[in-house]
């Protein structure tokens, strides 16, 4: 029994550490975008390295959590959903890493007048992700509170959509001096940043049904 208690404790710690990784990844992403827009390349590189480390750690934790749940028959009735949740959260940090790498490889030329818009899109997209983490933690400790926590995720996701739509409108309608290739490139980068909040919404949908199921 002592062995089993240790397994349970380890698994709880691993799940918490996984959430911490995603949470920290979101913060580092925000700082990475800011340093890119400020043209502070050293800081930007440092943030990319940090995100890569967090993403690799999250992958390792994901595999370990899934293995432990299967081998020790933990949460047999909810295992599939918990694995899916961890998978969707992992997609968030994967998107963070790939987006920062797009910036590093493609070095998009963002007009200074759009810096504020890009920061706004990043902020709201990241906020959707950040609000998701407490809801995901609550699923394990107080499932009654999950749905109220998710309201903010949906709010920030819709905010991201609005700001990015407005930014795309400015790029394609108000900035006639930009050529089409540059406009398309900027749109592509916006889509990438937006994908974080889309993934957060996907995870929120899943969490919402998971919470109902566990309360029934």
């Amino acid at each position: 029994m002592a062995l089993f208690t240790r397994t349970t404790k380890n698994l709880i710690l691993k799940i918490d550490e996984f959430f911490d990784n995603i949470d920290l990844g979101l913060v580092v992403f925000r700082e990475g975008i800011k340093s890119y827009l400020d043209k502070d390349i050293d800081a930007f590189e440092r943030h990319i390295r940090k995100v890569e480390q967090l993403e690799s750690n999250a992958d390792r934790l994901q595999r370990s959590i899934e293995n432990e749940m299967i081998t020790n028959s933990i949460l047999p009735q909810h295992r599939g959903e918990v694995s899916s949740l961890i998978d969707v959260l992992d997609e968030i940090i994967d998107t963070i890493k790939s987006t920062l790498n797009e910036f590093r490889i493609e070095t998009p030329d963002i007009p200074a007048s759009l810096n504020h818009n890009f920061i706004s899109i990043t902020e709201s997209s990241i906020s959707a992700g950040e609000e998701l983490i407490p809801a995901a933690r609550a699923y394990f400790k107080s499932p009654y509170t999950v749905r109220e926590k998710l309201l903010k995720v949906y709010y920030y996701e819709s905010e991201t959509d609005k700001v990015s739509r407005e930014t795309r409108r400015i790029i394609f309608q108000d900035m006639s001096d930009l050529d089409l290739a540059r406009k398309s490139h900027l749109r592509y980068i916006i889509n990438h940043i937006e994908k974080i909040s889309d993934n957060a919404q996907k995870a929120a949908d899943l969490l919402s049904t998971m919470a109902i199921k566990i309360l029934m």
């Binding site: 029994m1 089993f4 208690t5 349970t8 698994l11 709880i12 799940i15 390792r60 293995n67 081998t71 028959s73 933990i74 949460l75 047999p76 009735q77 909810h78 699923y139 394990f140 400790k141 107080s142 499932p143 009654y144 566990i214 029934m216």
Partner: protein, 413 residues
Amino acid sequence: MILLFLTSGLFLGWSLGANDASNIFGSAVGSRMISFRKAAIIASVFVILGAVLQGSGASVTLGKLGAVNAIGGSFTVALAAGITVYLMTKFSLPVSTTQAIVGAIIGWNIFTGNQTDIKTLTEIISTWISGPLLGALFAAILYIILKSVKKHSSIHLIRFESYVRTGLVVVGAFGAYSLGANNIANVMGVFVPAFKLNDLDLGIITLSSSQQLFLLGGIAIATGILTYSNRVMEVVGNQIMELSSDAALVVVLAQAFVLFIFSSSAFSSFIERTGLPPFPMVPVSSTQVIIGGILGIGLYKGARNINFRIVGDIAKGWVLTPVTSGLIAFFSLFFVKNIFKINVGTTVAENGDSILRGTTYSSSAMGISEIMGFLITGLLAAGIIIVVLYFFAERKKKNELRKSEEKFWKNLK
């Protein structure tokens, strides 16, 4: 010859183990909370303990209903109950070993011209109704308590589940013990009046004649659990209503309580001391109690997702099972007596003596106590070997997994 007569009881025990163990561990195994191997070992050990240590209470009540006083009669009565269980299971009809044996005993009473004790019969029939009702009540109360504790403690889901898992093992052991204590009367109760064996001194415990029979019956139930209950557990798990792991824990605990109170003489006298009417010690159907428990939780949740046909099935079983079993017993006794010329029992006089003694057996003639001694030693040895093998198999599995995981990350680097 003695073992040949006992085969019908042992077959009944085997089918009880195969079917009723699923009531205790079905949800836990079906939902993969506990492996079948672990569940089967726990259930087998505790069912035998319950049968030997606490099996006499319910058996005495069955004896009052009809003291089958010839070995041929005991054999036929148990066989009739076994055939009823088999037939009704085959035709997917609701069945309870308890009701089958009660019907068969009444069949024997009618055939041999014995009076059926109406008071005992009423006592038994009332528990068929009160058993599921009590199961429903206990389950609903326990479920409300568990839900409230879960909501207010903010305990981590994984930790909560580890407690539930430990609870399922402990409660399952208690449930198996109660099943053995209560239902052994169905399997071996009819043989008790017909067998007179010498006491078996095992050093730390002395087994009386009836306890030796209960031990044999317990082993038969355990064999049923080990050999056939796996497929029943897989199927039965969520038949009535889909159960969460904590609901499964509550249902099994409620069932164990109900079976326990209907087989514990200590509990019965405690209730009597408080001025309340004592609980009769009667074998009750574990299946019906568990169905009562599941319905109790279902009703608390607002009666959604409940298959209410199952309630009708229980009521159908109250009539159909004893009648079928009684008819089979009556006609079988006729054949056994008139065609095979085997004594199946006699009318018992008012003072309890047989007017014409039936054929009973004593252990001195057969040395069955010696066989029991060997059996117990063999069982203990087999138990120790199984536990050691299980421990090493589990350790080997974990080591192999750890090695493969290390190899994976090494190759990835």
